[in-house]
Symmetry: C2
Subunit: 354 residues, 2 copies
Amino acid sequence: MKKNILVIPGDGIGPEVTQWGKAVLEQIAASFDHEFLFDEALMGHAAIEATGTPLPDDTLEKAKKSDAILFGAVGHAKYDNDPSLKVRPEQGLLKIRKELGLYANLRPILLFDELLNASSIKAHILRGTNILFFRELTGDVYFGEKTRSEDKNTASDLMIYHKYEVERIAHKAYEAAMQRGRKLCSVDKANVLESSRLWRETVQEIAKQYPEVETQHLFVDNAAMQLIKDPKQFDVVLTANLFGDILTDEASQIAGSMGMLASASVGDGTGFFEPIHGSAHDITGKDLANPLASILSAALMLEISFGLKEEAQLIISAVDSVLKDGYRTSDIADDTTSPYKVLGTQDMGKLVLK
Amino acid sequence: MKKNILVIPGDGIGPEVTQWGKAVLEQIAASFDHEFLFDEALMGHAAIEATGTPLPDDTLEKAKKSDAILFGAVGHAKYDNDPSLKVRPEQGLLKIRKELGLYANLRPILLFDELLNASSIKAHILRGTNILFFRELTGDVYFGEKTRSEDKNTASDLMIYHKYEVERIAHKAYEAAMQRGRKLCSVDKANVLESSRLWRETVQEIAKQYPEVETQHLFVDNAAMQLIKDPKQFDVVLTANLFGDILTDEASQIAGSMGMLASASVGDGTGFFEPIHGSAHDITGKDLANPLASILSAALMLEISFGLKEEAQLIISAVDSVLKDGYRTSDIADDTTSPYKVLGTQDMGKLVLK
Ligand SMILES: CC(C)[C@H](C(=O)O)[C@@H](O)C(=O)O
Ligand SMILES: CC(C)[C@H](C(=O)O)[C@@H](O)C(=O)O
């Protein structure tokens, strides 16, 4: 198989971790006789520094032409500390999601047995958890009109949904549920928000087309609670952009660490694969970041964009066996029940390659 | 002390639990020689059934005239299942918050030692946690303009903040932080939302007036994760209406159960005290609800609205000793490390009274 892969390392720990996702892809290509051609492009703070814009045209063009994209993270403390800056790294990420039509963000909560004790949540609560989040990614308050009054004292963002936006991701989520546990939980705030009422009505309609799937509707506050109280109750979780942002970060604690979770953004254009963690300026350049989320993002790419299930499974097994051998990066070294060896980014990356 | 207290039981388990909050207030009045005069009023589904509107004028008038309000919960499955209904129980709650100017919702995460093992989170992660949430309560996407297109296919809610709304609650939160651990964490999504950028700028300004308080800003997705990963890091958490709704329900798992958490809404008008749990139709009328959140809401009322610290402390001690004696309602009977006696709503209420 011959594929063009665009690597966008981005900011902070992005480059450190993405090099290992890429290295794993190269190794898979060598072992399975695929031809993966890599190109690289700028986004976020890195792109602002080099070109003045967070998503240069060149990056977008390359993205549209490639077969899949491996992305790191964007963001920088400078912008977080100064809310008045107009050009911001995150705009690059939001724009590429929109331009490529990546309306469905899949976030599987993959639980490695070895990490059951690394979580702040009790092992018996976690055991057996297997959740696949479908987060809507190109609508909601992320993309609605933003205003700031002339006197600067009033600011707004429009939370808005169109029916077709809910329908297309609902279909994807139901199709996935059919292949899994046949349970789907749709999360909204329909007791308060009109956009959530449209969301709920639409999901109720689509649900009728999948009678084999058991549908549940939860308010987002309740869902945030249930996720921690009893995560095993969930199979597929379908939700809007903002709620999905919050709930999936929260759910990262189920997997032991945000440093373990990969995500796939799909829709009309090139598939986009990234860790769910951010740029983490505080640990950048210190060889502390966990490269496993990027490595698992590479596995998602192989499975989802290229249909290479065997290759994807091999990567997951490699990660599993490194964890079984007791190796941990510091973010997942919180297990007081067994001894382990703590590694930096580089060594962890090398071990998985082996 | 002579006070007029309005009781609004509301829907679902509201009446069952509120009777115990009220009973405890009566007992305190008798023991400490206060005169508490009680009146009752309708809100939510109960009010819609009786009068056609979720907040009758009569209720609002009584609320304005009373010295404090003890509230239960509103909501009903009928409306949750039919998003197209125009008159909804929650509108009553939102309207009374707005009409009374209750812009600050205080949600203390009160941790009883005896419940350390009842949580899905590990005891050593929880021990020592003491968080006070300040949730903004009369602004945000809750109150911004809602639209639905004529063809019904597009729906929106305006997420909007005015600077003065952020300022007044920020002052309250900083003042509380000064009396506590002198740490304040403001939660927003300033990397994406304009209203959050106004929020962050404003909090940064107010922070300068409280140099003794250490201020931190977190993005809401990160905050949702950190709350579970390491709750001890937080002292006062300040956030917007929607984010506060989600984060405080999530944080209820720190206290073992939503059935343990009380909240106080204050601002310009009569103080309003309620459990953070909802109407819970599924367990209504089954003598299963935990009355402790309502009882602890009564304690918050005594302390915050009437300045009766000793009386409030007595209630908390009574709850503590009932828990120490091994009594639990079923929601907090999840502790596998020690034996306990499971009680219904009524028996638990009676025990605390004793
Ligand atoms: C960086 C930020 C804009 C982004 C988001 O909120 O979508 C991130 O948190 C994510 O979840 O991918
Ligand atoms: C019932 C609902 C409108 C309400 C809210 O979202 O504010 C509730 O969840 C709460 O937190 O008090």
